[in-house]
Symmetry: C2
Subunit: 428 residues, 2 copies
């Protein structure tokens, strides 16, 4: 019999309680153990009692729960840094295994959590922290271990993917779709963490740390959100054969790690291009396995509960065999972070320019002076005086492009640099 101490009985927590109850038979069969919720730390008692759990399970004092020697696994679903961090560290020190879905915490304090788990010989699993129900942490950490991972590209935020899918399909403006998503509960009242890319940044920090065996934290990730995207960009990108996605990308380039989150155009035939709505996917390129993609529901009560319960079952099997800590921290190296300036990318650039002869030549001249080679130009008239100009570059260093844009900004013929979007997912 494995006893769980559950911290937090919100959406995911109650999903875990429900799943352990509804699938009790297969879960105990497959894990070789009965798994029971012994204690739930929750300030709102009705959340616990409404799930059919008894009063004796209710607990409002963390110390009481941690002092219970019958509890084998602490499942932390409070979220945020504190008090989650302190609770987890304390649980580990008392020899309890820990399962969490807390990406914020791992992306910031991963090292401390892992080393504490190792010191105290307990398991620390967090499959639900990235990609919700999609198994991606374990496969990357264990079954792809024979590969040098070259890159990981994720669509790991359901809110922004829902917004971009809707903008793409219906030509709607960002703000309009965001409001709709908030009404449907797909976006939070304060959507900053999602739409500005911070949620995706935490997840790619976690994936990068595992893929490249070197700790990557939130601060190491370059982040751009989707708020500047316009239906015009989506339309012009479409004409060029691309769809737009908020990508979380981690690459190892000559021994350094590059990690970033930004909107990007990817070719329509790329496997990630078909990942729509609230679905998530993680695309992995390994030197032996080639291109892989894991696709599924990246959030939601029951998909996330599926991942949490999967981790609980794995620990239950470990306890059954009298062994724990199978795969602990795998950050064996300390690799440098490559700044975004040094990255080579292709760019889509949308400009609003004076519609008069010689303008294209002048603009092309500025790019040429900065070694920015142009692959494609689309010219669109916009009213009488102005033209919209869309340019796609060949691969150029980010810094060269920035320099060229700075010069363009100062030119009287350039009314506006409307948007700059990177192109990804093409074979170089």
């Amino acid at each position: 019999m494995i006893n769980i101490g559950l911290l937090g009985c919100g959406t995911v927590g109650s999903g875990v309680v429900k799943l352990l109850a509804s699938n009790r038979a297969v879960i105990s069969m497959r894990s070789g153990q009965e798994i029971t919720i012994k204690r739930v730390l929750e300030t709102a008692p009705h959340k616990v009692l409404d799930l059919g759990l008894g009063e004796e399970v209710l607990c409002t004092d963390i110390n009481e729960l941690l002092a219970d020697e019958d509890i084998h696994i602490v499942v932390e679903l409070i979220g945020g840094i504190e008090p989650a961090r302190t609770y987890i560290l304390e649980a580990m020190k008392r020899g309890k295994h820990v399962v969490t879905a807390n990406k914020d915490l791992i992306a910031v304090c991963g090292q401390e959590l892992f080393s504490t788990a190792e010191t105290h010989g307990v398991d620390f699993y967090f499959e639900a922290a990235v990609g919700g129900g999609i198994p991606v942490i374990h496969p990357l950490k264990q079954y792809l271990g024979g590969n040098h991972i070259k890159e990981v590209i994720g669509i790991v935020n359901g809110t922004t993917n829902y917004i971009l899918t809707k903008m793409s399909r219906e030509g709607m403006e960002f703000n309009q779709v965001l409001r709709e998503a908030q009404e449907l509960g797909y976006a939070e009242a304060d959507p900053t963490s999602d739409v500005e890319g911070y949620d995706a940044a935490r997840k790619i920090a976690i994936l990068a740390s595992i893929a490249f065996n070197s700790r990557v934290t939130l601060d190491d990730v370059y982040v751009e959100g989707i708020t500047r995207l316009s239906p015009l960009d989506i339309e012009y990108g479409g004409e060029l054969g691309y769809v737009v996605k908020l990508l979380a990308i981690a690459q190892e380039i000559k021994g350094r790690i590059q990690a970033r989150v930004h909107p990007a155009f990817i070719p329509k035939h790329h496997p990630l291009a078909a990942v729509n709505g609230v679905y998530n996917a993680v695309f992995i390129n390994g030197d032996a396995v080639g291109e892989l993609m894991f696709y599924g529901r990246g959030a939601g009560q029951m998909p996330t509960a599926s991942a949490v319960v999967g981790d609980i079952m794995e620990i239950a099997r470990n306890i059954h065999r009298g062994t724990v800590g199978s795969v602990s921290c795998t950050c064996f190296y300390s690799k440098d972070i490559m700044p975004i300036d040094e990255l080579q990318s292709k760019f889509y650039i949308r400009l609003l320019v004076k519609d008069r002869p010689g303008v294209l030549a002048a603009i092309a001249g500025v790019f040429g002076n900065h070694q920015v080679s142009i692959a494609t130009v689309l010219q669109k008239t916009s009213g009488e005086e102005y033209a919209r100009l869309v340019l796609v570059t060949h691969y150029v260093p980010e810094s060269d492009l920035r320099d060229a844009l700075t010069v363009l900004e100062g030119m009287s013929i350039v009314s506006e640099i409307s948007n700059v979007i990177r192109l990804e997912g093409e074979t170089r």
Copy 2:
């Protein structure tokens, strides 16, 4: 130090040797062990020596390899039933862990292999047997364990997916594409096992056994190949919004298991519809996690080697911790197989009929008499005398459809029942 005894140094075997050598540093770091090829059973010595292995590794007598007490893991990459089966059983009896990519063997003798592994307390892993480099066995067996799996739908044969993709894109005939695939090495000289669906059937038997915790063998799987598919079917299906794929499907329906392999039309927006060329994918529907898909290279030297090395590393970690047999046979139940006759499907039916008034009414009448309800009809003229008729049914029991087709076959106005293809992947 973990020592490997490798049986067979063909394509995959030499891939494993190469991968263990090229990625030695990360592999030993991640698995906590040095992994060494100690012996290779191979009748063609140059295959072994060409890889840079020394003469002392060469071995032509299985007993010599099995008697070597320093060998911890036997990696069986000979393929086929015998002598692979005997070698594996003998290795297990001597306390050696086994990794294999041998789907033929597992689909037929799975139970014997698992129970022998269990009796002798050794690990038996076979991630490479299904989906090549794609991690699917372990995730299904372990991390999705909290779910009742409702269905597994795989595109698990690269040869047929290459052929169907090419037929779809270029309107080519089956035989022509097959010849081309043979020249490119994507299809074998004797392509029967691939194009008739037996390879996919073995794989879905394995996946079904794991998903539903009940042993499913090759004989339990209903199988139809792709040889009867015509570019006409692909064209008409396309008009109706479908693409054709060879699907391997396993479902649990009211406590019984239904497993089958056949060509099927799936909606163009289904995630499996974008799986093209030699890529494979496994689509899983679980009650908690919802829809998941694993996508990647289902065959080939290095992708398959990636999966084999992943299994070796997992066993190395188990040995390191002094524990084995984490997840053994999971066929706890003995569920009945549901015959294909009882399955409810939608069908696409292509007929060649006399082009004269009243023919459609007569044909529709036959379907009506057998409770086969028609959803869509496309009529295409074909020469002067004949018309092609394409009908799509609503959900009907397979047996009712068969009865209606038998009556149609006997009618003088029906010149030919050109093809019958199931529709899959739609929400009911």
